[in-house]
């Protein structure tokens, strides 16, 4: 990152460089336009809605909300939940990615696979499994006391969202050159010291991003609290219920806007925290990746945590798998295939629609997200912070609100959007692209911050333009982060619920709308069957995406011999 003292001069130079590259300038303008139309504008509409109080404009809704304990308490609850989930989730995600990238642990592929299960399935499936395992009449009934409430929520969300932290961190840890550790150890540092002084500090941007991602996901989560929160009410659910239960769009919008406060705060804290250090490790010098034998006191806790977490995930999904073949989940355990037959009969159209939409959304999100990450970390231009911030916004807002914002914003034409988008498949695609992009951007930023800009500068000095440099130098180095961005986008496109329900039309129906329908109708076994089918589809797709990105990465690597 740039040091403050050289900031002014380099800004002028960068701005001149920018003028010399009209294509870059144009794309920055286009990105700004798209972010304004598809992120800011819908949220502005929501904000405007929240200012409608008894038919007039004003802050009446905000005052009402501040006065009532039943609006304030959910806000506090959401914060407690978010901090707990993010901290535990990031810790587990870090240990997992450390084990995968830094230890000779056996069966890494299987651990990786297991760790990705939870992001692949709609979250409420985990909550359901939790009830069947730990509920009053569950398999381990009463073992942890009352599962409904904060305890159960943290358990379920940690399982659901640690994988996000894992995905974000594995790319980061992989990018840390093992020769740094070797050097430190050769100089006599102990393994723990190396970890404390080398790996941990270098991974800090990744850790902070991962924490932030999990925090935001937890705060905006809606599916799990709907099922397992008991009397512990959280803001995202309250906002939803205010809209759908009380038919009160303005106050629901007000609660949703409140959710933005912690997100914005978390975002700025992260910026402040990260602006102080440099994290460059990929400098263009040759490396040889080796993993030295680790001491038992590192292996033991790391391995046991991995095995334990994987065991818990398997237990939960084993429950889902077993449940999907039961005649009546939780009551009649006669095995049957009926659930799958019924699921297929009701849902096959939904599955194909979802696949089409997700395959369009995924590459767009991946490239667009990486491109923004690249602009943010590598280019200097006015409004850079604004770009970074607004690209994160849709992620932070509860889906219900994004969905309603989209309907209000794009149901008619306006000066900045001359087409009506509602009722088309396009609105679903756009919503998903902008909602899924932040994870790709965060991962990309974290990865790019580790790569020395001088490699790219060298390329530009040698006469290549930004485009060539991005494609030939930057892209191959961020392939792991790019891949995890693609994975996340595909998965979220297949599993998104709360925002989608407002933009789906009869022509384009998505798989999660069907799953939610099953859950609403208490058809848990069919919901489980469909979730499992979803997992299989996604795993196949992940294999394909990996194949393609590997090829892409290899092809480019050979062209990028860096001295």
């Amino acid at each position: 990152m740039n040091k403050k003292k050289s900031g002014n001069t380099s800004r002028v130079i960068n701005f001149k460089k920018l003028l010399r590259e009209p294509v870059l300038l144009l794309s920055i303008l286009i990105v700004f336009y798209l972010l304004t139309v598809f992120v800011i504008f819908p949220l502005f509409q929501v904000f405007k809605t929240s200012l409608t109080f008894e038919g007039k404009l004003g802050f009446g809704n905000y005052i009402e909300v501040m006065k009532k304990s039943y609006y304030i308490q959910p806000f506090i609850n959401s914060m407690i939940l978010g901090v707990l989930t993010a901290t535990i989730g990031t810790f587990i995600g870090f240990i997992f990615s450390y084990a995968i990238t830094r230890t000779p642990m056996k069966g890494k592929k299987i651990f990786r696979l297991i760790a990705t299960f939870p992001i692949v399935s709609p979250p409420f499936v985990i909550a359901l499994a939790a009830i069947l395992l730990f509920g009053r009449s569950g398999v381990f009934g009463g073992m942890f006391g009352n599962i409904y409430g904060l305890k159960g929520l943290v358990l379920v969300e940690v399982i659901a969202y640690s994988p996000t932290a894992f995905l974000a961190l594995v790319g980061v840890l992989r990018a840390i050159d093992p020769s740094l550790e070797e050097a430190a150890m050769d100089l006599g540092a102990s393994r723990l010291r190396v970890f404390r002084k080398v790996i941990f500090p270098l991974a800090t941007p990744g850790i902070v991003s991962a924490w932030l991602l999990v925090f935001i996901q937890s705060v905006a989560d809606f599916g799990n609290p709907m099922i397992i929160s008991g009397d512990f009410s959280v803001l995202s659910v309250q906002a939803y219920l205010q809209i759908t239960g009380m038919y009160d769009l303005p106050r629901g919008a007000t609660l949703a806007i409140l959710l933005l406060i912690p997100t914005v705060a978390a975002f700025y804290l992260q910026k402040y925290f990260l602006s102080k250090k440099s994290y460059v490790t990929v400098t263009g010098k040759p490396t040889a990746a080796t993993i030295k034998n680790l001491e038992w006191y590192i292996k033991l806790p790391v391995y046991s945590l991995c095995v334990f977490f994987a065991g818990v995930v398997l237990l939960f999904y084993g429950m889902v798998f077993y449940g999907s073949f039961q005649k009546l989940w939780g009551v009649d355990s006669t095995l049957t295939l009926d659930n799958y037959v019924q699921m297929w009969r009701v849902g096959k159209g939904y599955i194909f629609d979802s696949l089409i939409i997700a395959s369009i959304v995924t590459p767009i999100t991946g490239f667009f997200g990486m491109f923004i990450a690249y602009l943010i970390t590598r280019k200097n231009f006015p409004g850079k912070n604004l770009m970074e911030f607004s690209s994160m916004l849709t992620f932070a807002v509860p889906g219900t609100v994004v969905g309603i914002g989209y309907v209000v914003a794009f149901n008619t034409t306006s000066a900045i959007m001359p087409f009506t988008l509602t009722g088309t498949g396009l609105i679903i695609i756009i919503l998903l692209v902008f909602r899924n992009m932040p994870v790709g951007i965060r991962n990309g930023v974290a990865a790019l911050q580790q790569i020395d800009p001088s490699i790219e500068e060298a390329s530009i000095d040698l006469g290549a333009d930004s485009g060539t440099t991005f494609r030939k130098i930057t892209l191959p180095m961020i392939t792991p982060a790019f891949f995890s961005g693609l994975v996340y986008s595909f998965v979220r496109s297949m599993t998104a619920i709360s925002a989608i329900i407002f933009v789906v039309s009869g022509k384009w129906n998505l798989i999660t709308v069907a799953i939610l329908g099953f859950v609403d109708n208490s058809q848990y076994a069919q919901a489980a069957a469909m979730s499992l089918l979803l997992i299989v589809i996604v795993l196949i797709a992940l294999g394909l995406i990996k194949l393609i990105t590997d090829k892409l990465g290899q092809g480019m690597n050979s062209a990028t011999v860096v001295e």
Binding site: L24, L34, Y70, G252, K507
Partner: protein
């Protein structure tokens, strides 16, 4: 390559019309338009009725399934340019609210029987096409283990044996739970109803969000007693095979009227009106048997095991007044109960 960045952006923009064209309508058979329906029924059930309608009339229907509250929020957000023409199903409480917001269009269905006055809006912005009463769903094993009969009155629900054993939805999140609350208000008056509920609250294990969630939860023994609509208890509890029984309070109970309405500014008015007419036809009303809903057409058959409204004690439920007063009623509840 100089054009990489540009190509990237162009791809994104260029995909737009492609996808939009893909979503463009191909004209249906005859001169009918494709009818767009928002269904507040379960997917499978909605599909069941809509398939029959398509077969009978040849009109193509595209529908989205949402909860009644989601339909209302969506219609409100889309009011400048409505995308749906018919709102199919859901408790009349939500239709009444939509009507008071001016989101619905009056239509008197073309039917050959008299629809009771409390089964339609005075201005006909909504029309009720099925009904069902509030009842109790109890776990058989819990009853047996405690030597109890299924609760048969509202006072039975205050029995200390049910401490932290009863579940229902929040009155502000579900039409079912609101109907229950409005029923208590109409039976006791607001103040007495609040007092009663304060005692009742001790026995509540947790409030759920969905009105029918407590049925399966009683089946799974996560709670002993749930409160829900009789047709839901029959269809989602007993018919599914959960070990539960259905009972009604002897002092009287409230009921819902499920409504269908024409959305204001609908683009397919003729088709929408045909759909609404069809909802009241004997053919359509006979189909409710499969889901234990009670038909409003006197010529329609009733499912075996379904409870007729005439068989149970009903209060004179005033849906319109309590639909309009929902905000005040809920506020009183939340201020007293604090949840």
């Amino acid at each position: 390559m100089k054009k990489l960045l540009l190509t990237l952006m162009i791809t994104i923009v260029a995909l737009a019309p492609l996808v939009a064209t893909g979503a463009q309508e191909s004209e249906g058979e005859k001169s009918y338009n494709t009818l767009h329906v928002y269904a507040a029924l379960d997917t499978e059930e909605a599909q069941y009725y809509i398939d029959a309608f398509q077969k009978e009339t040849g009109i193509k229907v595209e529908f989205v399934r949402m909860s009644a509250g989601e339909v209302l929020a969506r219609i409100e957000a889309e009011k400048e340019n409505p995308q749906g023409s018919v709102w199919f199903g859901g408790s009349n409480t939500s239709h009444i609210n939509a009507s008071s917001k001016g989101l619905l269009e009056a239509y008197t269905p073309n039917i050959d029987f008299e629809l009771a006055a409390n089964f339609h809006a005075e201005d006909r912005t909504w029309n009720g096409f099925y009904t069902g009463a509030i009842g109790f769903v109890s776990n058989k094993e819990f009853l047996e283990a405690n030597g109890l009969e299924a609760p048969a009155s509202w006072e039975d629900l205050l029995n200390p044996v049910y401490t932290s054993q009863i579940e229902m939805a929040y009155p502000y999140t579900s039409g079912t739970a609101y109907t229950t609350w409005a029923t208590r208000i109409q039976m006791l008056g607001l103040e007495n109803a609040l007092d009663w509920w304060e005692k009742f609250d001790v026995n509540i294990h947790q409030y759920t969000k969905s009105g029918s969630a407590s049925i399966a939860r009683a089946g799974l023994a996560e709670c002993a007693v749930g409160i829900g609509f009789s047709h839901d208890i029959l269809a989602k509890g007993i018919a599914k095979g959960y070990p539960v029984v259905l009972s009604f309070p002897k002092e009287g109970t409230g009921y819902e009227v499920g409504a269908v309405s024409l959305i204001k500014g609908a683009k397919e008015v003729e088709e929408a009106q045909m759909f609404i007419d069809w909802c009241f036809s004997v053919n359509a009303q006979n189909m409710f048997k499969a889901y234990f809903r009670l038909p409003v057409n006197p010529a329609a058959e009733i499912a075996d095991g379904a409870i007729k409204l005439s068989d149970i004690e009903l209060i004179d439920y005033d849906a319109v007044t309590h639909g309009m007063n929902k905000e005040a009623n809920v506020k009183a509840w939340r201020d007293r109960i604090g949840k």
